[in-house]
């Protein structure tokens, strides 16, 4: 028996563990990211920010969160 059903995900290349039934919105809030200034990809698919509360993270999910930085 596993003690906890922790979910392993990868966010911007780094491994993280979250609780079961953890939504993408929970993750963004935990990371304290300004939702209007970022874009999110879940397993190479762009996520509509209006839907993030409905997306429940699964083990092995790869999440990319990007923003704008200085560039030429």
């Amino acid at each position: 028996m596993r003690k906890k059903n922790k979910i392993k995900i990868i966010v911007n290349g780094k491994q993280m563990t979250v609780n079961p039934k953890y939504s993408l919105k929970n993750l963004i809030e935990k990371l304290k990211l300004p939702i209007k200034k970022i874009a999110i990809e879940l397993n190479r698919q762009i996520v509509d920010r209006k839907r993030i509360s409905k997306i429940i993270l699964k083990s092995g999910d790869k999440i990319e969160i990007v923003n704008f930085i200085g560039g030429g």
Partner: protein
């Protein structure tokens, strides 16, 4: 009535013909101030991963307000069409930007564009509704092909990105100017204000400058110099220069000479 000299890209009118990059500055504050002084109303920005371990890092959007200045997301650092498409789709998701700058690099040392990947990406992005300004070599044939697949602006390099070598092939830029009605913007290689003025005098519609301002000993002064150089070069171009003459022609009449 005098026709106004407008700078239009993708149906949008801009007041400054100088586009400024936001990379390589010491900090965001310096970047924001240089942009203000340059008078630019378009700035290029890059798309990168959010730093999730250090959230205290300042955000570009907190310093440069995208409501006041047009963000031009670019694909700096992308070496394939797939990477570039992914980057710009994400950029659009951040803020709904459709005007984008495509650059697909082909070589890490020279940062020359990969013409084939660039062409492919331009076509796909245009079909997806993007207005694509395209970084390309100063090759008139490729410029024409990019135009044919829907580019909204042609952005040839004057010299390698960040090199500051100035305009290396005036003739090619003139030929591209001659063949296209699309906005023509020199994208890379500007080193000093006179390079920007020369680009404008060759008939370019605009100039994009990043390193030459950000890495100048006095970035704010250089930002101002670039602003005036672009204005001066444009005015010089539209004013119709005199025909070059091998011999002298006195500016003062001999009438009444003692």
């Amino acid at each position: 009535m005098k026709k106004k000299d407008l700078f239009i890209i993708g149906k949008k009118t801009f007041s400054s013909r100088l586009i400024v990059g936001t990379g390589k500055y010491k900090n965001m504050l310096e970047c924001a101030k240089a942009i203000k002084i340059s008078g630019a109303d378009i700035v290029t920005v890059a798309v990168r991963r959010v730093n999730i371990s250090d959230k205290s890092k300042p955000l570009l959007m907190d310093y440069i307000d995208p409501k006041k200045i047009t963000y031009l997301p670019n694909t700096a650092g992308c070496f394939t069409s797939d990477e570039a498409l992914r980057t710009l789709r994400l950029a659009r998701e951040i803020g709904g930007w459709e005007l984008v700058k495509l650059e697909v690099l082909g070589d890490k040392k020279t940062l020359f564009p990969d013409a084939i990947e660039t062409l492919k990406s331009t076509e796909i992005l245009t079909k997806e509704g993007f207005k694509v300004m395209v970084y390309c070599n100063d090759d008139p044939l490729m410029a024409k092909r990019l135009e044919n697949v829907g580019a909204c602006a042609i952005m040839p390099l004057a010299a390698p990105i960040g090199s500051g070598l100035g305009i290396q092939n005036k003739i090619n830029l003139k030929i591209i100017r001659h063949q296209t009605k699309l906005p023509l913007i020199v994208d890379a290689g500007i080193g000093q204000a006179s390079d920007a003025a020369l680009a404008m005098e060759l008939g370019c519609d605009g100039v994009l400058v990043n390193t030459a301002i950000a890495k100048a000993r006095k970035p704010f002064e250089m930002a101002e110099a670039m602003k005036f150089a672009v204005i001066a070069g444009r005015k010089s171009f539209i004013s119709g220069r005199i025909k070059p003459n091998l011999f002298g022609s006195a500016s003062t009449s001999n009438k009444g000479l003692i």
